[in-house]
Subunit: 234 residues, 2 copies
């Protein structure tokens, strides 16, 4: 190919990534927000974000932003949606590509970077964030709910070993809805992606609850047949 003129660059814009970081603390679904230490909107709650660099793609930028805040790598990240309202950022024309991340809060000992004033909030009770971040969070939750029905998100949100109660709590928290224990367990078992270990977690009862692990191989074998954890959404 011969030399080609570069495109007219008068319309170049800043591209940001913002991360909706979901975490599960083995009881409730949480959302990680930071208190902004810079203008604009200093002191207000915000999603963790950053600008896309010339040397990276969007997935990489989102991973960098996430690592910057949590120190974690190889975390589940999925692109959500791109936001482009002209004045969404009062400083400069910026479009933002939102990503959402899924983290098991205690699987890793998360060291939230001291550079940031960050806090986990319950997914049903968090402060109003800046800009259009509220829209992003709502859309991420919708996406997470859909994903939870067709993909074993417990892989990402639960520790290595977990009890059925924890798995059920995760789903109840995501859907903000009580689920019948018997139906839930028999459905989950029938999906055939869990391995029951010999171990018990005695931290919440005298009897103790068996610990389970996800089996990625089983999941990969079975996923052709479809994975569907129907939960009635009234």
């Amino acid at each position: 190919m011969n030399k080609i003129k570069r495109y007219n660059s008068t319309d170049k814009v800043m591209v940001a990534v913002d991360c909706i970081i979901f975490g599960f603390d083995n009881e409730r679904l949480k959302l990680l927000l930071i208190k902004r230490s810079f203008e604009p909107e200093i002191g207000k709650w915000s999603l963790m974000g950053g600008f896309l660099k010339k040397s990276e793609n969007l997935d990489q930028a989102a991973a960098r932003v996430l690592k910057n805040l949590t120190g974690l790598e190889n975390i589940y990240l999925e692109q959500l949606y791109s936001y482009s309202k002209i004045d969404r950022d009062p400083v400069d024309r910026t479009i933002s590509v939102a990503y959402f991340a899924l983290i098991s809060i205690d699987k890793y000992k998360i060291q939230i970077s001291k550079d940031h004033d960050a806090k986990w909030f319950d997914i049903n009770d968090y402060p109003k964030p800046i800009f259009d971040h509220s829209k992003m969070i709502k859309k991420a939750l919708v996406r997470l709910r859909r994903k939870a029905l067709t993909y074993p998100i417990g892989f990402e949100l639960l520790p290595e070993k977990f009890t059925m109660k924890q798995l059920q709590d995760l789903y109840e928290s995501i859907f903000n809805k009580e689920i019948d224990k018997r139906n839930f367990i028999s459905k989950v078992i029938s999906l055939n992606v869990l391995i029951k270990t010999e171990e018990k977690d005695k931290s919440t009862s005298k009897k103790g609850a068996f610990l389970y692990r996800f089996d990625e191989n089983k999941y990969n074998e079975n996923k052709k047949q479809g994975y569907n954890l129907s939960i009635k959404l009234k």
Copy 2:
């Protein structure tokens, strides 16, 4: 708010929108591609695209691109995904936000702009397009299939009045799969969004087939209960 320094602008990039334009000609689902009249990749098939301007948001840019090619306004457009591989466009660093559009090919007398060499292709038989457009098209088809199960896309893809056969052909074409006529019709009727008119289309049979219309009010009333046109995807 006081004057705030603009963000460092060394990392500004071009933002493009590319439109995956689906159309239904009352027989098969089609895809509209253009033959590029400019470098790079002149003469190859491509999605219709354009660059985001400072004065518009992404939805507006996509609508402008679509109007530019087809002359149509108020067409269903949905943002699909943002593509950002560093060298995806060989000329300059560009990220592209893909949108997909749904058009009833004969509901409007589409005047494809003579400025473009455009052509409708069958969704199962189209030429390999440039850059990452093939990935975009595949993702758009996945999205369309999901959408078809939960939203009456016939609103967008069919003419004002249509026969059950046309509606079924649309779904068979989208899913590339034969569907049982009796099951399909009774399922569609049960969704309670169609109005049967007194008119018949006699163009394909001596007996004639009743024409139906979508009823947007019925749809809006019923959608709280969910809209689900289960089609077995083997």
